[in-house]
């Protein structure tokens, strides 16, 4: 319990550090947000009035605290360009990005764990060697390029889906998920390759340890030792990796959304960056960072449940 409290404290600390960094980064930008909202023809008096209304004359830390508290309450500010609350612009898009990331994550787990076990079991066999080589190549393909290739092969030649034919989840959830399968594959591919490589290495390392030999000497067969003894220890580093991979996949979907022209978070983020619509950029970056940090906390907790030895020195 103490371990979880400590990790929770660290999560809150990380969140504060990251939010402060994001806030400061967008505060050192030259340019007056009030002027930006009103346009360059506004009179100085009006600008000054809006500045006071927006609280821009307060000290930096006061502004940060206000911004952060508003963020926690779900008030992300107002877009400079569209003059609407940022929340209304992005909240409906979050499920799209999140669904895609989670689908990619599920694929990664379902494919890579059996594959890792098979390759480790037949270490240096033909299957193991060919999977290792294929994995090296897959890791070298940027997800957006595999996305382009997938669109070409499965979308245009085999016609398994219509490129650009995205259906929103509000319209038809089944079709929505079906369209996201191929983008999710593009995100998952390199992660699958990395996870297989990692699990394979970890399994082989564990199988050389004394406890594995003891388990054999007690008359267990290969599968018995593998599934009841080695696997439990070998998945621990893989869980850490998968936690970071999930965070990466959610962030990585920014590029993939662009490839498959999915109107998710990414499109708003990119147009807001080029329009210098900072409240929107700030909110999206903070939102993704928050998801990432919470996911990392959950991984730490799961980690502790899987391996009770971790964090014992804190108890």
């Amino acid at each position: 319990m103490k371990y979880i409290i400590k990790k929770f404290g660290m999560m809150v600390a990380t969140l504060l550090v990251v939010s402060l960094c994001v806030f400061l980064a967008f505060n050192i930008i030259p340019g007056d947000p009030a002027l930006k909202m009103l346009g360059t023809e506004a009179s100085p008096e009006l600008v000054e009035q809006v500045r006071a209304e927006m609280g821009l004359n307060d000290p930096v830390l006061v502004r940060y605290a206000r911004w952060f508290l508003n963020f926690i309450r779900g008030d992300f500010g107002t877009s400079y360009n569209y003059k609407v609350p940022v929340g209304s612009m992005i909240l409906s898009k979050i499920p799209i990005t999140l669904t895609m990331g989670i689908m990619a994550f599920i694929m990664t787990v379902l494919v890579s764990i059996p594959m890792g076990i098979v390759t480790a079991k037949h270490e240096n066999g033909l299957l193991d060697r060919s999977i290792t080589v294929i994995n090296q190549v897959i890791m070298a393909i940027p997800p957006f390029f595999s996305g382009i290739l997938i669109t070409f092969i499965f979308g245009m030649i085999l016609r398994l889906f219509t490129p650009g034919g995205f259906v929103n989840y509000t319209a038809d959830f089944g079709k929505f998920v079906r369209y996201l399968i191929f983008p999710a594959v593009a995100i998952a591919l390199p992660k699958v390759a990395m996870t297989v490589k990692m699990l394979r290495g970890s399994l082989i390392d564990e199988s050389l340890k004394d406890y594995a030999r003891t388990a054999y000497s007690r008359g267990n067969n290969t599968n018995g030792v593998l599934y009841r003894h080695i696997l439990k220890n070998a998945v621990i580093p893989v869980i850490t990796f998968l936690g970071m991979a999930l965070a990466d996949m959610i962030a990585g979907s920014i590029v993939i959304e662009q490839v498959f022209s999915i109107p998710g978070i990414s499109r708003i983020l990119l147009t807001s960056i080029s329009n210098r619509d900072y409240p929107v950029v700030e909110a999206i970056i903070m939102g993704i960072a928050m998801i990432v940090i919470v996911v990392n906390f959950l991984v730490d907790v799961i980690y502790r449940i899987v391996d009770p030895r971790i964090g014992l020195e804190d108890e």
């Binding site: 600390a13 990380t14 967008f26 940027p142």
Partner: protein, 274 residues
């Protein structure tokens, strides 16, 4: 024959990763370096009568939608991509090594605070960090280079810190300490050179990740600006012509893949160096 050359020769024979990495990276470097002095066509020269042509002797990789020679553009684009990768790794490894070495060597409060910040940055996907920096400082390849460099600091700092922690109680360090070596000299003259093996392979992995990150961000349009294009930008321009002229997409993509693969093999090869 010197010892270094003998070592290299023996390793190349026993280590297929190293050989493959050297060959692939060598070819990419050759193409890029030749591209500095000579390209078959001017990379930005448009030719309205040769739009979207396929592979031929006149145009080894075909032409793009503006009639520009793709091979010339790939030669130029890999120079931008490689320069950004080198700059990124130089910043990441340079700053990361200093932070990692100092925190690992001195420990204490400095270590605690720095590592918390590094952990926070590490948890932050590098693509997001780069997007924050690009949105603050504007788009362009220098901004991209700096932002990726900062994004790469945490991983190098962590690796170096771990290695320094491992080394700092070894006999040779104790020995040097007895001789009255200063802390600064101890870190950068005694310890850091002894972790060069680990550094070399993480630098190669760094190149590998930098090329991938650069390609992804350029694809999003925040990197080098037209008419010159890095490989990632070429791909995003090419995507809509995928069906009419696949070679326009395939060649820049293949060069990125080869570049990444070369560095990955080199990294793998160096970590298996005997």
């Amino acid at each position: 024959m010197s010892k270094a050359r003998k070592d290299l020769k023996r390793n190349i024979k026993s280590n297929p990763y190293l050989l493959a990495g050297l060959i692939i990276t060598g070819l990419i470097l050759l193409m890029t370096i030749v591209g500095i002095f000579w390209t078959p066509y001017e990379p930005t020269a448009m030719n309205a009568s040769e739009k979207l042509k396929g592979v031929s002797f006149r145009h080894l990789m075909g032409t793009d939608n503006m009639g520009r020679d793709i091979f010339s553009r790939v030669m130029y684009g890999s120079r931008i991509t490689l320069l950004i990768a080198i700059g990124t790794v130089a910043i990441g490894a340079g700053v990361g090594t200093i932070i990692g070495a100092l925190t690992g060597y001195f420990g204490g409060m400095l270590d605690e605070v720095m590592m918390r910040i590094i952990d926070a940055l590490f948890a932050f996907p590098s693509i997001l960090l780069a997007l924050v920096i690009v949105s603050v400082f504007g788009t362009g390849w220098i901004q991209l280079l700096v932002s990726l460099g900062i994004a790469f600091v945490p991983s190098f700092a962590r690796i170096v810190r771990g290695e320094v922690l491992r080394c700092k109680n070894m006999d040779y360090v104790e020995n040097a300490r007895l001789q009255g070596v200063s802390d600064f000299r101890m870190i950068f003259v005694h310890i850091v050179p002894n972790i060069k093996g680990v550094m070399a392979s993480s630098i190669m992995i760094g190149f590998n990740n930098a090329v991938l990150a650069e390609a992804g961000l350029s694809y999003l349009g925040v990197g080098s600006q037209p008419p010159y294009a890095s490989l990632g930008k070429m791909l995003s321009d090419a995507q809509q012509y995928m069906f009419t002229m696949p070679s326009y997409v395939l060649f820049p993509g293949a060069v990125i893949v080869l570049m990444v693969l070369g560095f990955a093999f080199l990294g793998e090869g160096i970590s298996r160096w005997k």
